[in-house]
């Protein structure tokens, strides 16, 4: 009898629940329909490929294709594209052809006719990366940023309370990136510093563990150009890699992606469907018209990574933009790729932080908008049941491929999050005083 020779099993180094043995990494690929579909080879380690089907850069559909004999043949990829994405190709082609007024050719346009119908001029954009002691990841991130194609672009790195000058030296070695140091620890001190430092009409935020798509800034800019009423645009976050089981589990826990369909969001009087503002996106891919901060204020330094709440600043800002009556667009054409935590303990910590951040955001917003307290409490209870308690109960009823300790971790985070905002507020006030002195 042979011993198991699956390298993925040996390599993961961590057996999680019962799902460990069968795990194989998932290869992430983009297929551009205007170009020849490639034969993918060298995929011996992988179980399947997750293919983002794109036409004119637009993500149409995400398709999973099994790896066969160490690769995916162009034929099998084409079959998957036609089966799963065909509907969305039609949708995109019609949208495209309406721009020219010729809707009669049932075929794939090689060139994007709609490109000439984008509103001009495009606004100036500042991209801000807030980072802290993660120089290695940042290098890849900056490489992506420098390959962005956009007419009026400023790149800004805000170094948040660094413990060494490694990031400063890295940024100095790359042309055309501004470096700013923000000594007060906490992500939102850095974000607010970016608001002050940025010169662009649009301020786009991304994280240091992210690689942006070359079209990212352009898609954000074009969407903002649609209407002066649009104050915030969030985009699609797809995984950069799914090499380890914890990375796959993060996707199973919901991931950062919010789908491939655009949504235009504005709240009418009395509506409360925006309270669960995680549905609009995440801080790794969000952009704001800079003038919005004069109208509704800047980020709350008591929220965000590096504080007692460890996040929630992005959710709170999405909520505030909508609550104050402005327009937020979820624009999946603006894509970034996020490197999920590779090891299990970091994943568990991140899920705890998600629970923590969400409930800290709710407490903060309920304090700031007393008229919403009832609705916020109802949403908080509903979410706790739906997301935490129900999943926990189900994990006892039937064997789950999602480890129970991760469900418990997020649940613990949610409960702790209820108490954390007050402490974070005190910390922030102290830092604010120290900053003034």
């Amino acid at each position: 009898m042979r011993a198991a020779s699956n390298p993925a099993v040996a390599g993961s180094g961590q057996t999680v629940g019962d799902a460990g043995g069968a795990f194989r990494p998932v290869k992430l690929v983009d297929i551009h329909l205007e170009q020849a579909i490639p034969n993918l080879s060298g995929l011996e380690r992988y179980g399947e490929a997750q293919v983002l089907v794109r036409l004119h850069g637009v993500p149409l559909e995400s398709v999973r294709v099994p790896v066969v004999n160490g690769g995916c043949s162009a034929l099998s990829l084409r079959r998957a594209v036609v089966e799963s994405a065909g509907r969305w190709v039609i949708n995109h082609v019609v949208e495209d052809e309406l721009a020219a007024g010729v809707v009669d050719t049932p075929n794939i346009p090689r060139t994007n006719t709609a490109k000439h119908h984008v509103r001009q001029p495009l606004p100036s954009v500042t991209v801000a990366v807030c980072t802290r002691n993660r120089t290695e990841d940042l290098a890849e991130c900056l490489e992506g940023l420098t390959s962005l194609d956009y007419p009026d672009l400023e790149l800004l790195v805000v170094d948040n309370a660094p413990s060494s000058d490694a990031t400063e030296r890295l940024v100095a070695s790359i042309d055309d990136i501004r470096y700013v140091k923000e000594p007060r620890p906490g992500l939102d001190w850095a974000r607010n510093r970016a608001i002050v430092e940025a010169s662009g009409e649009i301020l786009a935020f991304t994280d240091d563990d992210v690689v942006v798509d070359p079209l990212w800034a352009r898609q954000l800019g074009e969407t903002f150009a649609e209407s002066d009423e649009i104050m915030a645009v969030t985009g699609l976050v797809v995984p950069l890699e799914l090499e380890t089981l914890p990375q796959l589990l993060f996707e199973r826990a919901g991931g950062f992606g919010r789908g491939l369909r655009r949504s235009w969001n504005k709240i009418e009087e009395g509506e409360t469907w925006h309270l669960g503002s995680g549905r609009f996106g995440t801080g790794a891919n969000m952009a704001f018209r800079r003038s919005i901060f004069e109208l509704i204020g800047v980020f709350d330094p008591a929220l965000g990574a590096g504080t007692a709440t460890n996040g929630g600043d992005d959710l709170e800002m999405f909520f505030r933009v909508l609550q104050e009556g402005h327009v937020l667009v979820y624009e999946p054409w603006a894509i970034v790729r996020h490197r999920h935590r590779r090891d299990y303990d970091a994943l568990r910590k991140q899920l705890t932080d998600h629970g923590l951040a969400l409930y800290a955001y709710m407490i903060r917003s309920a304090l700031a908008y007393p008229e919403l307290r009832g609705a916020m409490a109802r949403f908080g209870l509903w979410w706790f049941w739906r997301r935490n308690l129900r999943r926990l109960i189900v994990s006892f009823v039937r064997p789950s491929r999602f480890p129970r300790d991760l469900i418990v971790a997020e649940m613990r985070g949610a409960l702790v999050g209820l108490t954390r905002y007050a402490r974070a507020r005190r910390d922030a006030s102290r830092l604010a005083r120290a900053g003034k002195a």
């Binding site: 069968a22 399947e48 690769g71 019609v94 649609e226």
Partner: protein
């Protein structure tokens, strides 16, 4: 969202769609879509500010009416335009050159196979089966392992004298799971194929069965089992009962399928170990392992050793493919006594299998199934029979009920026996030297 003033506008699909302006006083705009004087439909969007951009209008129209617009624009029916478009998509998507055009890719020949056949005092069947397996059309290295579950009779040993190269393994502990496990432990192939001594396979069966393993995520492949003959009433009734085949459509199951269902996982719909192939690495995976000795023919529990193995395979996150083109012919029991015994065993084993998932895997879905759905299913079938809508005899329904009721006790007795006789891995290799 429906309140406020709504502006009405039209858009002709034969003219470029531009921005809509002068919308300052409106909350929404409804856009009717025209093609040569015909109205195709409309889309309604919220307006913010004075104008709505072309891109937003186009997106809304396409989301609401894309196929209608395409059909009207090209003067064809909607079905026609979709099929034309799909063909055009196939045609226009060019493929990078390469030597990969042999599609679909077969499993490489270097993957070796061990075929495990368990037998119990049926020398004629065994001889027929081995002749059949020997004539399989394949280029890969194939090892045949025969497990004799009653070594004292010496029947298998005699047959194997005529089949040099076939490996004989003796397992004196009675039970199909014991026997198959002994075969698995003796097998050296990358894949382990299981079949029974009473089946006949066409010459391309083996290759068709192992073919899906070219896919990395597939860990088990099962095939179809067809009746070799339907000569007797018993054989026909067995097919009405459900037979061993699982249909003529390809299907697959994975961890998501396993977990999604609120009901029990119907692993029995995936096939049976009379015609199944496994990656040998499964049996050393701590999440899967060998077959559970307490289940299966030869034990009081009757059946379930294969379905419980499928259960563990899915739970561990692997994929199972049912490949109907890999079919074998099976000779069903020809007399009513044999059929009754078999159905009784199936009914006991069905319950024993579910109780096993409850006890070993804490699958609480079983409680609802055994307490409610299973009795309900019997009641329905009996009612259908009484109304003349089913050919399935009442006596067999009652026999099944009796089997279900005795299932827990049968499992208990089986577990006690395994406790006495030990698990398979406690006596690793019973391979008989040549």
């Amino acid at each position: 969202m429906t309140g406020g003033r709504v502006a009405v506008r039209t858009v002709d699909i034969r003219a470029p769609v531009g921005d809509l302006t002068d919308l300052g006083e409106y909350d929404r705009v409804r856009i009717y879509t025209l093609s040569e004087g015909e109205v195709l439909g409309f889309a309604e969007i919220a307006t913010w500010g004075d104008s709505v951009s072309s891109r937003r209008i186009r997106a809304a129209l396409s989301d609401a009416l894309d196929i209608k617009i395409l059909a009207a624009g090209s003067g064809m029916s909607e079905d026609k335009v979709v099929s034309l478009f799909t063909n055009a998509l196939e045609r226009d998507l060019t493929l990078e050159d390469g030597d990969w055009d042999d599609e679909p890719s077969p499993l490489v020949d270097s993957v070796s196979v061990s075929i495990v056949v368990a037998t119990l005092d049926r020398p004629d069947d065994l001889r027929h089966c081995l002749t059949n397996l020997r004539s399989q059309d394949t280029n890969r290295q194939v090892e045949i392992v025969v497990v004799d579950n009653n070594p004292s009779s010496g029947a298998a040993r005699t047959v194997l004298k005529d089949f040099p190269g076939v490996v004989l393994v003796e397992e004196s502990r009675r039970g199909l799971a014991y026997a198959r496990n002994a075969g698995i432990l003796a097998a050296g192939g990358d894949l382990v194929v299981m079949t029974d001594d009473d089946v006949t396979a066409p010459p391309d069966w083996l290759e068709k069965l192992v073919f899906p393993f070219a896919r990395h995520d597939v860990a088990v492949v099962t095939g179809n089992v067809l009746p070799l003959e339907l000569e007797t009433q018993a054989q026909r009734l067995f097919e009405i009962y459900g037979g061993l085949g699982r249909g003529f459509e390809r299907k697959e199951a994975d961890a998501a399928w396993f977990q999604r269902s609120r009901r029990v996982v119907p692993t029995w719909r995936l096939g049976a170990s009379a015609n199944a192939a496994f990656r040998s690495s499964l049996f050393t995976d701590p999440g899967v392992g060998l077959m559970l000795e307490a289940l299966g023919p030869g034990m009081p529990s009757g059946v379930g050793e294969d379905t419980y193995l499928f259960y563990k395979v899915l739970k561990a996150g692997y994929t199972i493919v049912y490949e109907p083109s890999a079919y074998v012919w099976h000779r069903h029991r020809s007399n009513m006594d044999g059929l009754r015994r078999q159905l009784f065993d199936y009914s006991k084993g069905h319950v024993a299998y579910h109780l096993t998932t409850l006890l070993r895997d804490r699958d609480l879905r079983v409680l609802v199934y055994l307490g409610f759905r299973l009795p309900l299913g019997h009641a329905r079938r009996i009612a259908a029979r009484l109304r003349g809508r089913s050919q399935y005899p009442l006596r067999l329904s009652l026999l099944e009920l009796k089997g279900n009721v005795t299932g827990p006790a049968a499992l208990w007795r089986s577990l006690q026996r395994v406790k006495r006789e030990g698990t398979s891995s406690q006596r690793p290799n019973n391979r008989v030297p040549d």
